[in-house]
C-alpha cells in the first residue's frame, strides 16, 4: 500500500472549534489522499461529527486551515461544498421522501438537466454506474435504507465529487446490503474518488479502509495505514483505556418469576405472552417492525392497549399509562433517543431528574439542592462527560445523552428495566458501561428486557431470548447453547422453534 504516494486532496491543519462550555475540536490535523478510503473512528463525542460538519459548512471553525483540492476553504455552506466536489452522506439521509429518485438526485438543477426527461436519463446513468437498478421514477419513501444510500451516492457523483464522506453508513444495513456498499466503495476508489468513512464498527474499518485516524475527546490520537494497527491497539486508542472483552460475563442468578405478561392483542400483536424472572436479562429478537417495540410499549402503558394481564411479583397490576408503569417498578429507555427520550432544550440535570420529581418535592415545592445532588450523583456514577450539570443536554454526544436517560431511571431504581435499542449509535466504551449496568440491575434481583438490532449484543447479554415475527412469539432459546443461525431463522419466521 503506497499511502504516501498519492496526492493530498484534503488537508486539515490545527482546526479548533468550541461550543459554549464544550471544546469539540482541539487542534485537529488530518490529511486525506486521493483515491483512498480513510477511516475515522472514535467514541461518540470524540469530535468526528463536528469535524465533518465543519467540512460541509454546517459549522464554522474557530481557527485552523482547511485546504481542499488545492484551494483554502474558510467559510462555506453545504451547497457550496457540494459544488466544490465535497459530498457528505449523513446517517439520517437527506432525501425528500415525497419526490422520485431522479428528482432527488438533481434537486434544484432540473433546468441544467434540460427538464425532467434529461433528469431521469442522467439519473439512470449514474445509478447504473454503481450497479443500482432502482427505477428513477420511484418515490424515495418506498425505498429501503440501502437503496436510499445508493441514491445519495449517485447524488454525490452527480456533482463530480472528489471526496465523499460517509457518516456511519452501515448502521441500518443488512449483511448483503453492506457487501454491496463495500463493492461500490471499491469502485469509487478505483475512479480516484477519496472516501472518509466514519464508523464505530471495527470490522468495517479493518475490512476496507486504507488509512485509519483515531479521534478521542476532540483530538487526533493517531493516523496510520490500516495494516499497522492491531485491533486491540485501535480499541485502546479509541477509548483511552484497555477493554478486554466487548461483553461482560453473563450473570447467572436467575431466580423465580418476577413478571408475567398474558395475551397482548392489538392489530399488530397476536397473543403475546411471556414471563420474566428475577435476575434475568431477556432478549427480544426480531426484525424492525416485527412487534418488539410494540410489545414493550404495551406493557409500559405507552400505547392504548387493553385486555392483557400483567402480574408483577404474583400481584396483578393495571398499567394504562407510563406513570402507572413507573409506580409499578418499570423503567423504559425508549427506541428513539431524541424524539422520545430527551427534552433537548433542558439541562443535563433536569433531564436526569425528570422521572423522579416527586423525590425532591416537598409540599409541591421543588428542593433544588436535592435535584442538584441527583444530577451530580448520576453524572459521576455513570461517567457522563459534561462540563457541568447545567449545560443543555443537546450539547452532549449521543452516548452521554443515553447515559443521562439511564441515570434518569437509575434514580427511580426500577425492578424491571426495558431497554429498547439502548446502545444504538453509541461507541464501544459507553456500550460496555451500559452492559455492566444491565448486569448490575439483574444481579440485584431486578430484570431487564433487551431489544436490539445487533444480534451479537442480544445473544451475548441475554439469559434467554424470545423471537418475534409478525407480531407473534415464534420461539424461546437459550443463547448460550443454541447457535445464532437457529435463533435468526425463528426471528425471520422460518420455523425451527424449539
Amino acid at each position: 500500500m503506497d499511502t504516501a504516494g498519492s496526492q493530498i486532496i484534503l488537508s486539515i491543519r490545527d482546526v479548533t472549534k468550541s461550543f459554549p462550555g464544550v471544546r469539540a475540536l482541539n487542534g485537529v490535523s488530518i490529511d486525506v489522499r486521493r483515491g483512498m478510503v480513510h477511516g475515522v473512528v472514535g467514541e461518540n463525542g470524540a469530535g468526528k461529527s463536528t469535524l465533518m460538519k465543519i467540512l460541509s459548512g454546517v459549522y464554522k471553525k474557530d481557527t485552523g486551515t482547511i485546504v481542499f483540492d488545492g484551494k483554502t476553504i474558510d467559510h462555506t455552506t453545504p451547497y457550496e461544498s457540494m459544488h466544490r466536489g465535497l459530498a457528505i452522506i449523513y446517517q439520517e439521509l437527506n432525501l425528500v421522501n415525497s419526490m422520485s429518485v431522479g428528482e432527488n438526485i438533481f434537486l434544484g438543477r432540473f433546468k441544467e438537466m434540460k427538464g425532467m426527461r434529461g433528469t431521469h436519463a442522467k439519473a439512470r446513468e449514474l445509478l447504473d454506474s454503481i450497479g443500482c437498478k432502482v427505477s428513477t421514477t420511484k418515490l424515495v419513501s418506498e425505498l429501503s435504507v440501502s437503496t436510499k444510500q445508493m441514491v445519495e451516492i449517485s447524488k454525490a457523483l452527480s456533482f463530480q465529487s472528489k471526496l465523499i464522506i460517509m457518516d456511519e453508513p452501515s448502521t441500518s444495513l443488512t449483511g448483503e446490503e453492506m457487501s454491496l456498499l463495500v463493492k461500490i466503495i471499491h469502485q469509487l476508489k478505483a475512479q480516484g474518488i477519496s472516501i472518509i468513512y466514519i464508523s464505530h464498527k471495527l470490522e468495517e474499518i479493518f475490512d476496507f479502509c486504507d488509512v485509519v485516524t483515531v479521534m478521542r475527546d476532540g483530538n487526533v490520537i493517531d493516523t496510520k495505514p490500516r495494516g499497522e494497527f492491531t485491533r486491540d491497539e485501535l480499541i485502546t486508542k479509541m477509548v483511552g483505556r484497555t477493554i478486554e472483552n466487548e461483553y461482560p460475563e453473563r450473570s447467572r442468578q436467575v431466580g423465580e418469576t418476577l413478571m408475567e405478561v398474558k395475551g397482548i392483542n392489538t392489530r399488530k400483536l397476536h397473543d403475546v405472552s411471556f414471563t420474566l424472572r428475577k435476575g434475568e436479562i431477556l432478549g427480544l429478537v426480531g426484525l424492525v417492525g416485527a412487534g418488539r417495540t410494540e410489545t414493550v410499549r404495551a406493557i409500559f402503558g405507552a400505547d392504548r392497549v387493553r385486555g392483557h394481564k400483567v402480574t408483577i411479583g404474583g400481584k396483578p397490576v393495571t398499567i394504562h399509562n407510563p406513570k402507572q408503569a413507573k409506580d409499578a417498578g418499570l423503567g423504559l429507555i425508549p427506541e428513539d433517543r431524541k424524539l422520545q427520550g430527551l427534552v433537548l432544550p433542558f439541562s443535563v440535570e433536569q433531564n436526569i431528574s425528570m422521572a423522579s420529581i416527586d423525590r425532591f418535592t416537598r409540599f409541591g415545592f421543588l428542593i433544588k439542592s436535592l435535584e442538584k445532588g441527583i444530577g451530580a450523583r448520576h453524572v459521576k456514577s455513570l461517567g457522563i462527560k459534561t462540563p457541568n450539570t447545567k449545560v443543555a443536554i443537546k450539547n452532549l454526544s449521543g452516548g452521554n445523552q443515553q447515559k443521562c436517560i439511564v441515570g434518569r431511571w437509575m434514580e427511580i431504581g426500577p425492578s424491571i428495566f426495558i431497554m429498547d435499542e439502548p446502545t444504538k449509535g453509541i461507541d464501544v466504551g459507553a456500550k460496555y458501561e451500559i452492559y455492566l449496568l444491565m448486569k448490575e440491575i439483574a444481579e440485584k434481583g431486578g430484570a431487564v428486557i433487551l431489544i436490539s438490532s445487533e444480534l451479537p449484543e442480544v445473544l451475548n447479554m441475554s439469559n434467554r431470548v424470545l423471537t418475534i415475527y409478525d407480531g407473534r412469539i415464534t420461539g424461546e432459546f437459550d443463547p448460550e447453547h443454541i447457535p445464532a443461525d437457529v435463533i435468526m431463522r425463528a426471528a425471520l419466521g422460518l420455523g425451527g422453534a424449539s
Partner: protein, 322 residues
C-alpha cells in the same frame, strides 16, 4: 457564536424598550409626564394579566385563542351578577366561570387526542366563538354600565381607578399575580411538569410526568387570568359589552412571543412576558404620541411579532450543536 451575541439577543427586547422610550421622550416630552406614565400603568392592567396566563399555555407547548371569548363572557356575566350576588360574589363567580372555560378547552384537547399546537389553535379558536356567542346570547347584545346598577359598585370602581400609594390597584393586582405565577412556574413541581410537557411531550409522558394534568393546569390558569383581566378591564371602563375582549388573544400572544418565550414550548418565563407587554404598550403609546396613524400601528405590531419569531428561530439555529 460569541457570548456578546447571545446576551444581545436575549436582552434585545429590553434594549428596544429603552431605546423606544428614549427616542419618544426626546421627540415628545409629554411622554414622561405623570399623566402619561399613569396612563401606561393602567393600560398595563388587563393585557398583562391575560398574557401571564397565556405564557403558561405557550410554555406548555400549546396555544389559546379562546381568551377573547372568555373575557367577553366573564365581563357581561360578572357585571350582571353584582346586583343579585353582591360584589364579592360576582367577582368569585367571574373567576370561576373563566377557569371553567379554560378547563373545558383542556378537556376538549385531551378527549380529542390533540397533541400539536395547530390542533389546539383550531379547538380554542372554535371555543372562542362559542364563548363569545354565549356572551351575546346572555346579554342580548346589550352593554351594561355601572350607573345602571342599584348602587355604585365601589370595589370594582377601586379595581378600575383606585390607587395604593403611588401604584394603581390594577398594578398591585398584577404584581401579586406575577409573584404567584413566577413562584408556581419556577419553584413548584407542577410548574416544572408544565415546562417539561412543552419541551417534549413524548419524553415527558414516557418518564411518567403527568402531561394530562399539565394541560388541564395551563388552560385553567389561562382561563382564570383571562377572567381576572376581564374584571380589571370592565372596572376601568365601568362598562361591560359582549365584545369587550376582541383582540386580546392576539395581543397576549404577541406580548408573550415578543418577550422571548419560544412558541416551540418548554422555555420561557412570566418575567419575559412582562417585558413583552411593556414593549407592546409602549409602542402603542409612543406611536400615538408621535401622531402615527392607527393603521400604521397595526403594521408595526405585526412586524414586531414576525421579528420576534424570526429572532427565536435564529437562536435555535445557532444553539443547534453537535
Amino acid at each position: 457564536m460569541n457570548k456578546v451575541g447571545f446576551i444581545l439577543k436575549d436582552y434585545l427586547v429590553l434594549l428596544m424598550i429603552l431605546g423606544l422610550a428614549l427616542v419618544t421622550a426626546i421627540i415628545q416630552p409629554k411622554f414622561i409626564s405623570p399623566a402619561n406614565l399613569n396612563n401606561i400603568m393602567r393600560q398595563f392592567g388587563p393585557l398583562i394579566l391575560v398574557a401571564l396566563g397565556m405564557t403558561f399555555v405557550i410554555v406548555g407547548g400549546f396555544i389559546d385563542l379562546s381568551v377573547a371569548g372568555t373575557i367577553n363572557l366573564v365581563a357581561v356575566v360578572t357585571i350582571t351578577l353584582i346586583d343579585p350576588l353582591g360584589q364579592v360574589g360576582a367577582l368569585i363567580a367571574g373567576l370561576v366561570i373563566g377557569s371553567i372555560c379554560g378547563a373545558i378547552n383542556a378537556g376538549l384537547i385531551l378527549t380529542s387526542g390533540a397533541t400539536t399546537q395547530a390542533e389546539a389553535l383550531f379547538i380554542t379558536f372554535g371555543m372562542s366563538t362559542v364563548y363569545s356567542s354565549l356572551a351575546l346570547i346572555y346579554s342580548g347584545g346589550s352593554t351594561f354600565h355601572f350607573w345602571d346598577l342599584k348602587e355604585m359598585p365601589n370595589m370594582f370602581e377601586a379595581i378600575g381607578a383606585g390607587s395604593v400609594g403611588p401604584l394603581s390597584v390594577s398594578f398591585v393586582i398584577f404584581l401579586g399575580a406575577l409573584a404567584l405565577l413566577w413562584i408556581f412556574h419556577t419553584k413548584m413541581a407542577a410548574g416544572r411538569a408544565i415546562s417539561l410537557t412543552g419541551g417534549n411531550k413524548t419524553a415527558a409522558r414516557l418518564s411518567g410526568v403527568p402531561i394530562e394534568r399539565s394541560i388541564v393546569l395551563i388552560y385553567t390558569i389561562a382561563g382564570f387570568m383571562a377572567a381576572l383581566g376581564a374584571i380589571v378591564l370592565f372596572s376601568r371602563v365601568t362598562t361591560a359589552s359582549p365584545v369587550i375582549g376582541a383582540g386580546f388573544e392576539t395581543n397576549a400572544i404577541l406580548a408573550v412571543v415578543v418577550g422571548g418565550t419560544t412558541l416551540k414550548g418548554g422555555k420561557g418565563s412570566v418575567l419575559r412576558t412582562v417585558m413583552g407587554v411593556l414593549l407592546v404598550i409602549l409602542l402603542n403609546n409612543c406611536l400615538n404620541l408621535l401622531g402615527v396613524s392607527s393603521y400604521m400601528q397595526w403594521a408595526a405590531r405585526g412586524a414586531i411579532l414576525v421579528f420576534a419569531i424570526w429572532l427565536d428561530n435564529r437562536k435555535e439555529v445557532q444553539g443547534n450543536q453537535l
